[in-house]
C-alpha cells in the first residue's frame, strides 16, 4: 500500500516536471505564432527545430556538441583528479588545510573571465587554454566541496575502523572514501554543470568550433535561431549528464538512501 503511494508520488513528480516544460513551450508558441515578438528576437519553436535539423544535416551539430563536451569533460576531469586528494587531505590534516586554505579562498573569488587574457598570453589558443579555463573555474569550488563532504563522514565509522585495526591508509581507502562517495558524486555532478559555463567563456574568446563559438558567431549574423539551437543543445546535454550521474551514483553506491527513494 505504502509502496503504491510512493509510486504514484514519483509519477506525479514526473508529470509536474513535464507540465513545466510544456508550459514554457506553450508560452513560447503563443509569443511567436501570435506575432507578439519579432522573429529576429525570438524565433518560433519550429524555426529552431528546423535549424537544428539543418545543423544535423551539415554535420556541424555532432561536431560542435562533441568538441564542447570533450572540452568540458577533460577540464572537469583534471579538476576532479586534483581536487579529490587535495580536499581529502584538507579535511583530515589541519596543517595541510592551514597551508592551502587561504590561497584557495583567495582564488575562489577571482572571476575566471578576468583570467582569460592571462591564459591566452601563457597558453595561446589551443585546447590546453580551454581546459585551463574550465579547471580554474571549477577547481577551487570543488576542493572546498570535497573537503566539506569528507569532513562530514561519520566519525564513529572512522573510530570503529581504527579499533578494528585499520591503518591510516586503510581508513582512507576502506572507510572515508566509500562513506563519502555518494556526496562526492553529487559534488562532481554540480561541478560539471559549472564547467559548461566556463566552457562557453573559453569558446567565446578563442575557438573555431564548439557550441559556445557557434552561439557567439550567430550573434554577428543575427541568427537567433542558431543561438536558440545552441542553448537548447547545451541544456539537453546537461540533462543527459545529470541523468547519467544519478544512474552512476546508484551503481557505485547502491546502499545509499536518497531522500527521493524513501
Amino acid at each position: 500500500m505504502e509502496k503504491k503511494n510512493k509510486r504514484r508520488g514519483v509519477n506525479m513528480e514526473h508529470m509536474l516536471s513535464f507540465i513545466c516544460f510544456a508550459l514554457i513551450i506553450g508560452l513560447w508558441c503563443v509569443l511567436t505564432f501570435g506575432g507578439f515578438v519579432s522573429e529576429l528576437f525570438l524565433p518560433s519553436p519550429f524555426a529552431v527545430l528546423r535549424r537544428i535539423g539543418e545543423l544535423y544535416a551539415d554535420g556541424s551539430l555532432w561536431a560542435n556538441c562533441f568538441e564542447s563536451t570533450a572540452r568540458v569533460v577533460v577540464g572537469w576531469f583534471w579538476s576532479v583528479v586534483v581536487a579529490l586528494p587535495c580536499g581529502m587531505l584538507m579535511a583530515n590534516s589541519r596543517k595541510f588545510s592551514a597551508f592551502v586554505q587561504p590561497i584557495i579562498e583567495f582564488a575562489r573569488y577571482l572571476p575566471v573571465v578576468a583570467l582569460v587574457p592571462l591564459t591566452l598570453l601563457y597558453l595561446g589558443i589551443d585546447e590546453t587554454q580551454k581546459y585551463t579555463i574550465i579547471f580554474l573555474g571549477t577547481f577551487f569550488q570543488l576542493v572546498l566541496m570535497v573537503c566539506d563532504t569528507v569532513s562530514g563522514v561519520d566519525a564513529n565509522l572512522i573510530n570503529a575502523a581504527k579499533t578494528l585495526g585499520a591503518s591510516k591508509m586503510q581508513v582512507y581507502k576502506e572507510v572515508i572514501f566509500p562513506a563519502a562517495l555518494p556526496g562526492l558524486m553529487d559534488d562532481f555532478r554540480l561541478t560539471i554543470g559549472w564547467a559548461w559555463t566556463y566552457l562557453v567563456v573559453a569558446e567565446m574568446v578563442a575557438a573555431q568550433n564548439g557550441l559556445g563559438y557557434m552561439i557567439l558567431r550567430s550573434q554577428r549574423y543575427l541568427a537567433t535561431d542558431t543561438i536558440f539551437a545552441g542553448l537548447i543543445l547545451i541544456g539537453l546535454i546537461g540533462l543527459v549528464t545529470d541523468f547519467l550521474f544519478r544512474i552512476l551514483t546508484r551503481i557505485v553506491a547502491p546502499w545509499h538512501e536518497r531522500l527521493a527513494d524513501r
Binding site: 561519520d154 564513529n156 565509522l157 573510530n159 570503529a160 575502523a161 581504527k162 579499533t163 578494528l164 585495526g165 585499520a166 591503518s167 586503510q170 576502506e174 572507510v175 566509500p178 562513506a179 562517495l181 553506491a253 546502499w255 545509499h256 538512501e257
Partner: protein, 262 residues
Amino acid sequence: MEECKLQAVGLTKIYDGGSKGDVTAIDHVDLEVKDGEFVMIVGPSGCGKTTLINILGGLDTATDGTVLLDGKPVAGPGADRGMVFQGYSLFPWLSVQKNVEFGLKMKKAPKEERAAQAKKFIDLVGLSGFEDALPKQLSGGMKQRVAIARTLANEPEILLMDEPFGALDAQTRVVMQELLADISKKTRTTILFITHDIDEAVLLGDRIYVMSRRPGTIREVLTVHIPGERSHESLVLPEFLETKKRIMDMLWQESQDAAMDR
C-alpha cells in the same frame, strides 16, 4: 584467570573548556580487568564513562595516567582492544558478512580464513541467513549483533562496550543481554562493559565498578554472587536484588551530594 588483562593507572582527563574553564571528566581512575572476567562500570549520567572507555580503547588520550594491556603500556587504538558502540557504527555499504570480515581484511588474512571466521561468529550471534543483508535492512538488535560479531571475529584481547544496548527497546535488550552472557561463557572473552542500567550491570557482571558523579572517580567495587546461569530469571533472585539495592543506594547518595553541591 587471575592474571590481569587490562589495567588503568591514575587515568585523568581534563577537557579544555575554553572560556568556560577546564572540565575534569575523570580523576585518577584505577581499575583492572582480569583475564576472562566480565567487568561492569556504572555511574551517573555525564560522570565520564565514555571518556574513560575511549581512553582505554585509544580513541582519546589521557591528560595523565597509563593504560596497560597484559602489563605493557598501550597508546592509540588497535585491534587488541575491540570496541562496540551504542550507535552500532556498521559500515552501511558492506553486507553483514563483509562487515564481520572487516578487521581480518585489514590484517590481510586470506579469503578462506576470513569467510570461515565470519561464518563462525555470524552463527554465534544467531544471524546465519543474513550474511548478504545490508545494515539498513536490519533492526537495531540485529545491527548490534553484527557489531558484536565484527569485533569478536577480530579476536581482541578485550572487548570494550559503551552502553551497547542503550538504544534498544526493553525486550530486545533482555534478549541481547542473555546472548552476551552466553557468548562470554562460550568464548571466555574478557569484557569491560559500561552502562547506566543497574539491572544490566548486576545481571551481566562478575564485578562492578561504581563511579561517582563528575569528576568521575571509582567510588566502590563490588563482586557479584549470583547462583546459576545468568538469565532474565536471575532478575528476581534475592542475591540479585540485594546487590541492586546496594548500587541504587550509592547512586542515590551521589545524586543527593550533587544536589547539595548546587
